[in-house]
Amino acid sequence: MSVDRGNVKILVFACRWCGLIGADGAGRKRIELPASYRVIPVDCAGYVEPDAVIRAFASGATGVAVLGCHVGGCRFNDANHPALKRLELLKTLLDTTGIGGNRLLLGFGTAHESHQYADMILEFHRAMESMPSMASWLPQGQ
């Protein structure tokens, strides 16, 4: 089973509030992170539809991270609760087919916890390095 060590691709959906501000804080502190992730900013983690996560995997992503605010602290009054619930359910489906629910990281935190944000991304990157290849799933050339 070949391993995607050098070719980790993580797609991060970060909410404009805690997710992106956390990332911004980590950048300001010059914390070093591997350049394996790309960020799609969204207004709220509630916007992230499971189909987008699936599409990311179908397009070759090794892992997907959805970053939002603490469950009690959503700017949009608990809009992140349903997001959390449906993405947790998506993990069950990913587990069934072997893609693995652990390829989907759900991180709900606070804007100012930038060290924790950095640690989380780093840990996720490391975990993705040892994931089995998804080559059999994808059409040739990806």
Binding site: M1, G22, P50, D51, I54, R55, F57, A58, H70, V71, D78, H81, P82, L84, K85, R86, L89, L90, T92, L93, L94, D95, T96, T97, G98, I99, G100, L106, G107, F108, G109, T110, E113, H115, Q116, Y117, D119, M120, P132, M134, S136, W137, L138, P139
Partner: protein, 281 residues
């Protein structure tokens, strides 16, 4: 059991509780097909076999008839659940729908690996015990093993998909026009086999909280992909976390649509960057 159903169906027509009864008819040359019986005498030709899901047909019929036209449907357990889900999603007006429910026999339950082979409103036949699909060897083969093994097994199956859309077309819940599975953004068009990850995962997830385990998708698949098995773990998770089963209560919408305050998930490990003691995760 057949006589009981026929009796009930005739009553409905005689008492004008509905304008038509949708069921299976043994017609010309003994060909069995769905039919809307509109007079009590027609009911003589009603049959109950083979398993044939009528929910989607009921929806289509009700849509093209005027508002005061009511329909009674002869249903098995899975059909009734499908109707409940359609009512929940505002596809069928419950005021216009009646059901005549009959139980499935034990072999049918075993063939379908059905855990609930009887409708909630049972008018004929006696309910047999359901079968636990997770105990079946064929199902276990697809759900066990480590991640790598499962990927290989599922990929081998899904690679055979010819994108006939039979699964989507036969599923009683799938009514969307346009459908995401036909949209280039989500699933690449003109590619056979279908993009495995996007087509099948999108379809399976859209049904995550409304799949009623009727088996229509699996029966429709010309290459025999075990599509029902795809849904089983999600159904089990919903039952365990929220005590929710699709198709039982027309007044209870999927718990995934509400927030924790309204539909809490007991023992939920909420992912946090930092736990309350300030320790790093």
């Amino acid at each position: 059991m057949l006589e009981q159903v026929k009796q009930k169906a005739r009553e409905i027509l005689e008492q004008k509780q509905a304008e038509g009864v949708l069921g299976l008819k043994k017609g010309l040359w003994d060909v069995i097909h769905p039919h809307v019986f509109s007079t009590p005498s027609e009911i003589d030709a009603l049959v109950l076999e083979p398993k044939w899901l009528l929910a989607k047909m009921a929806r289509a019929l009700l849509r093209e008839q005027p508002q005061n036209w009511r329909l009674a449907v002869v249903v098995r357990g899975c059909d009734e659940r499908a109707l409940v889900e359609l009512v929940k999603r505002n596809q069928i007006d419950r005021e216009r729908l009646l059901t005549v429910g009959y139980a499935c026999e034990a072999n049918q339950a075993k063939t379908c690996l059905c855990s609930r082979p009887y409708p909630q409103k049972l008018d004929a036949g006696s309910a047999v015990e359901g079968v636990d699909p997770f105990a079946d060897e064929r199902v276990k083969a697809y759900l066990e093993g480590d991640a790598g093994e499962r990927i290989e097994r599922w990929a081998a199956q899904l690679k055979r998909c010819i994108k006939c859309y039979g699964c989507r077309n036969s599923c009683p819940i799938c009514v969307c026009v346009p459908c995401k599975l036909e949209d280039d953004v989500w699933v690449e068009r003109g590619v056979i086999p279908a993009e495995m990850v996007s087509f099948h995962h999108i379809r399976a997830f859209h049904l995550s909280d409304t799949c009623v385990a009727c088996g229509a998708c699996q029966e429709a698949c010309p290459v025999g992909i075990p599509l029902m098995t795809l849904q089983l773990s999600m159904r089990a998770a919903l039952k365990k976390d929220y005590n929710y089963e699709a198709g039982l209560d027309a007044n209870r919408k999927s718990p995934v649509l509400f927030d924790f305050v309204k539909e809490p998930r007991p023992g939920q490990d909420v992912p946090d960057w930092v736990n309350s003691m300030g320790e790093k995760k």
